[in-house]
């Protein structure tokens, strides 16, 4: 056995409730091999004692799938927004700093409320309507190469990292954020979804929608799933250009 116990240091930004001021607390944990940020947070939960030995309220955070597909455990780790489940302690510089993604309202500690992202999915109608008063039948088929292409876009887990990285998503602007562009492109590309393309684009062109993008392209650099968000942005920009021309000059707005 090694004599000196290896430890891991954490500095965590905490906040007791949505309206209180944030503060920092420091923790020193026993190192275990293959630790990730979540297992460290779990260790704090089991033994909520800070570095000075004070007993404190356990740190709260969100998590769900633990394999980077649900997006719930996103937080700012050493200055970068990412999922805490795939943030391996061995790969992080210490002390490891954890902060909530402040673009979203903080619920408590590292927990944020990402409701605005789910609201924006509703705003842009990010679904494919298949319900009718009668059987609508099987619908058009999607070619396999296109399905594979669309699969890459469908990897978005609404984690909020792109909104956190975007300089234009903030309290001064009502920009919907990068993620929604990708959803509009995904559902407009689907053969059945394409039947509501104009509806989706028109909703997206409304105030508080797509127009706030300033092309900083932080979103595509930060996306944990490697989704070509800026390609989706430019593609939807083109569709919106045509849609707005159709709306103004054309007769066929659908």
């Amino acid at each position: 056995m090694m004599s000196d116990k290896k430890t891991v240091r954490f500095i965590i930004t905490r906040q007791d409730n949505p309206n209180s001021d944030p503060y920092q607390e420091e923790f020193e944990l026993e190192y275990r091999p293959n630790m990730n940020v979540i297992s460290a947070l779990m260790a704090i939960q089991r033994n909520p004692v800070d570095v000075k030995g004070n007993k404190i309220a356990p740190v709260s955070w969100d998590m769900n799938c633990l394999e980077e597909v649900c997006g719930a455990c996103s937080m700012v780790i050493n200055g970068k927004p990412r999922q805490s489940c795939t943030a391996l302690v061995d790969q992080l510089e210490q002390p490891i700093r954890l902060e909530p993604m402040r673009t979203f309202p903080v619920v408590r500690d590292l927990q944020v409320d990402r409701s605005r992202m789910f609201d924006s999915l509703k705003k842009v109608k990010a679904w494919i309507p298949i319900d009718g008063t009668y059987d609508l039948g099987p619908g058009p088929r999607m070619p396999e190469p296109k399905r594979q292409w669309a699969y890459e876009l469908s990897k978005c887990m609404t984690c909020g990292v792109c909104l956190e990285a975007c300089p234009n998503v903030n309290s001064k602007s009502d920009f919907i954020g990068p993620a929604a562009f990708n959803q509009v492109r995904l559902f407009n590309a689907h053969p059945t979804g394409a039947m509501n393309k104009a509806e989706r684009l028109n909703a997206f062109m409304e105030d508080g929608g797509m127009q706030g993008c300033g092309n900083s392209q932080n979103c595509v650099q930060s996306c944990p799933k490697g989704i070509p968000i800026t390609t989706s942005i430019a593609a939807v920009n083109r569709d919106a250009t045509f849609q707005s021309f159709k709306n103004f000059f054309g007769s066929d707005q659908i």
Partner: protein, 202 residues
């Protein structure tokens, strides 16, 4: 079409920056370049522009109104950003920040430049080679003009890149990358024209 005013405003801002304001910028820099051919050459070119028929309408509709709209809405855009280039130091994020800084610098420069030339002309001054020679004989003004011209050209060149993305002309990463190189070339070429013209007055 209630409820999509923002979309219209933003697209109009993007369009006006290129047509007509960007085109006017190129024309202006080219006419300035006549200064390299000497005083007479510049005065002849400037005189030609000055005596264009319907000049006041051309100025209002091709320059002042589009420029005013682009400037005012641009200020609003610039100040709604929460810049984070120190945290996310990607190339495009720096361009995003510099685009906003040069926008403000350019507005200050152009306001001063219009005051010093066009407004003085309205008060009866002659806009000609000797006027510019006089202005640029002041080393502070010379530096201010160099910074102003470079800033304006940067804002235009990088704005062309954003224009292409905002209207959906360049979608693929490759086309956007090549447009980056093209706009860098435009920046260098126009800066050469602009700076050479400035030094022709010194």
């Amino acid at each position: 079409m209630a409820g999509n005013r923002e979309f219209f405003n933003r697209r109009l801002h993007s369009l006006l920056g290129v047509i007509p304001v960007g085109l006017f910028l190129i024309q202006h820099l080219v006419v300035n370049h006549f200064a390299t051919g000497g005083e007479e050459s510049f005065n002849k070119a400037a005189g030609f522009m000055e005596h264009l028929p319907f000049r006041i309408f051309l100025e209002i509709f091709v320059i002042f109104l589009p420029l005013l709209y682009h400037a005012i809405y641009g200020l609003y855009i610039a100040f709604t950003a929460k810049n984070n280039a120190s945290k996310y130091g990607f190339f495009r994020n720096w361009m995003f920040l510099i685009q906003r800084i040069t926008g403000v610098v350019t507005l200050i420069f152009i306001t001063w430049h219009v005051w010093q030339t066009r407004v003085q002309a309205a008060f009866g001054a002659d806009v000609n080679f000797s006027m510019m020679e006089n202005i640029l004989s002041n080393p502070f003004m010379l530096a201010f003009y160099i910074i102003g011209v470079i800033s304006t050209i940067f804002h235009f060149s990088n704005g062309l890149w954003s224009f292409c993305v905002s209207w959906g002309i360049t979608i693929s990463p490759r086309s956007q990358l090549i447009t980056t190189y093209v706009t860098i070339a435009i920046f260098v070429a126009l800066s050469f024209v602009g700076i050479r013209a400035i030094f022709a007055f010194v």
